[in-house]
Amino acid sequence: MDFRLTDDQRALQEGVRKLLEGRFGRERLRAAVDGPGAEPVPSLDRALWRELGDAGFFGLRLPERDGGVGLGLPEAVLAFEEAGRALLPGPLVATHLAAGTVPGAATGKTVVARVDGELVEWLDAADHVLGNAAGAVPVRSVDPLTPLHRVPGAAGERGAVTGSGVVTGSGAESGSGAAGGFGAADAVLAALLTAAEQLGSAGRTTEAAVRYAREREQFGRPIGSFQAVKHLCAQMLVRTETARAAVYGAAVTGDAVEIAGAKLLADDAAVRNARDCLQVHGGMGFTWEADVHLHLKRAWTRAERWPAEREAAELLAAALR
């Protein structure tokens, strides 16, 4: 047993981080957020999407013979964690999961959206939609970088996933399930990759809070020297590292219940860390200019993806035997 990252995994992690820093750094992020108009409709950066495709982000788990990178779930989780850190926008999970079945998805040529319960992210930008989005109406999305549509009548309990199935397949073997080209196994994988994004966000807001606490001075000293702020930051780290263990563990086992648990803890870490980060930033955290609200809004958005807290808790309870 060696749960730590292998050298290859570490290199992958660093590679994705560098790619995103270069192609979607802070300036690019702010440009996307601060577009013209009070509520600019974000547009998908197709060139970036192709670049992600070229870098293997979408085809990561496809066999090499199919033009993929031939890696596994742990590697996909590391890549999505970086995407979460960078607040990378777009229907990343759907496109990644469609890589084996929807032509052009793996290379980033085809943008794929999916219907999850009553919501669809990035519908207008998508070339291909998994699930039935008929009659979808646009929503004034709380996250400025995630356009949303609502599919009327699609509400109700989601997720046929129960029990403790294990998902290990690459995208090639899934994607043909019951719910409009998005099967139960894919739903579980989507939950795991979403959890990885949340983990990345939780880690990023922890770092941001710590950096601000070191620099910001009040009462003649850095606010990070006050126990109240110290302890907020410490609890952020605890949440992040617990979620990390859960997400990485779930990536290794691929167990559906463990993945539900990972999503639950990662959702909690992302949302609460963003709020604590905001608290540490004080008034500055309440401004549009600070990035912390983008993390919070995205974290809220991802938390609504299947399984939401309530759904995950029920799944985890049912598995207690």
């Binding site: 509520e39 004034r140 009040q218 309440f286």
Partner: protein
């Protein structure tokens, strides 16, 4: 322990209620939140109506043009106006609740005559220039400096979190008139000035919040001349001048908000019954717990107001206890709203979604929860100061 109102108080309530019923239907439609001149016009017109009906400056002393109402009457006023859906104090906030009372308490006769009547009539709008980018929780570290030059102060610096700056006529401004040194702690050497917002060198820039709105502004001051006659209180005594009024809080600060939260809570229960979430025991009981919470906060308000009434308007430290609990409860309310809405919580078309965003400031603005806990620990519980 008496929660019933006196006959006099009930009469006051009945009169107010009748006036509100007669007046509110005649109000013009509310302006768009982004239309600042429209908002100013709306808010000041409402203030003028209050003035004409004898409700302006209700809790101000008579010698300041007010009606010397008791904290209980003020509570009734705030409760009834909120229940009736009357306009908020809006752009009149700083004038009525802070700058005005400060001038009333510390200004000269000339200053009171010049500034108070226009506030009460809704003729002039004030904003507040206290916080700075580097002086938030630690207000005493403010750096905007004022140098005396003849009969004026020359002011340079910047302020932040200034509401209604775009439409204000005056700004109650705190400036540093003596540099901080070993002998001069931060809160000495501060002076209170009334800054005319149209003075040359004043630049206002809207500040966008995470809710996407521009309720606040930044203000930049570049060698702005402020007549020395606009100074309230002594030079270097501005900290005390300000604190006198900041602490002149008679437990009524959040009356309207608590009433509004209780209404929101009932609306949430109705929405949950409508969309099926009511059948979720977690959601339903969360609403039940919030019922206990906001009922208690209403009682706590009545408690603090009673304390203030007996103590003659002198502040207790109940304000910090209340704010700590209320800030948290309000955030909880909107988190619960999100559970009621389900995926709809991501839709800004729901007021509760935008209110949820705004509520994020509650544990930060006007003293973070961390600062409030220090106040409670040090001043109420008497725990030893940290080093």
């Amino acid at each position: 322990m008496d929660l019933t109102c006196t006959e006099e108080e009930e009469e006051f309530r009945a009169r107010l209620r009748a006036w509100l019923a007669a007046t509110l239907p005649g109000l013009p439609p509310r302006p768009d939140p982004r239309d600042w001149p429209g908002r100013r016009a709306y808010d000041t017109a409402w203030q003028r109506r209050l003035y004409d009906a004898g409700y302006a400056g209700l809790h101000w002393p008579a010698d300041a043009g007010g009606h010397g109402a008791t904290p209980t009457q003020h509570l009734i006023f705030l409760e009834e106006t909120e229940l009736a859906g009357a306009p908020y104090v809006g752009a009149n906030f700083v004038g009525l609740l802070h700058a005005g009372p400060t001038i009333a308490a510390e200004g000269t006769l000339a200053q009171r005559s010049r500034w108070l009547p226009p506030i009460l009539r809704g003729d002039e709008i004030w904003c507040q220039g206290f916080s700075e980018p580097d002086a938030g929780s630690d207000l005493a570290s403010l750096r905007t400096r004022a140098v005396r030059d003849g009969d004026a102060y020359v002011v340079t610096g910047s302020k932040i979190w200034t509401s209604h700056a775009e439409v204000a006529d005056w700004c109650e401004l705190l400036v540093r008139t003596r540099p901080v040194s070993a002998d001069v702690p931060g809160h000495r050497g501060i002076t209170w000035l009334a800054l005319p917002m149209n003075a040359p060198g004043v630049t206002v820039r809207p500040l966008r919040t995470l809710a996407g709105t521009t309720e606040f502004a930044e203000m930049f001051l570049d060698e702005v001349r402020v007549p020395a006659a606009h100074r309230v209180g002594e030079e270097n005594d501005g900290w005390r001048v300000t604190m006198v009024t900041l602490s002149f809080e008679r437990g009524t600060a959040f009356v309207g908000e608590v009433v509004a939260c209780r209404r929101t809570l009932r609306a949430l229960a109705e929405a949950a019954r409508g969309n099926g979430r009511w059948d979720d025991q977690e959601v339903r009981r969360a609403l039940g717990r919030l019922n206990a919470e906001f009922t208690a906060l209403w009682r706590l308000t009545q408690w603090n107001v009673s304390e203030a009434q007996r103590a003659g308007g002198v502040p207790g430290n109940g304000g910090s206890v209340f704010k700590l609990r209320y800030s948290h409860a309000r955030q909880e309310l909107y988190d619960t709203a999100a559970r009621v809405l389900g995926p709809g919580c991501l839709d800004l078309a729901h007021d509760w979604t935008t209110d949820r965003l705004s509520s994020l400031s509650y544990t930060i603005a006007a003293g973070t929860s961390q600062i409030q806990r220090n106040i409670v620990a040090d001043r109420v519980l008497g725990l030893p100061k940290g080093r």
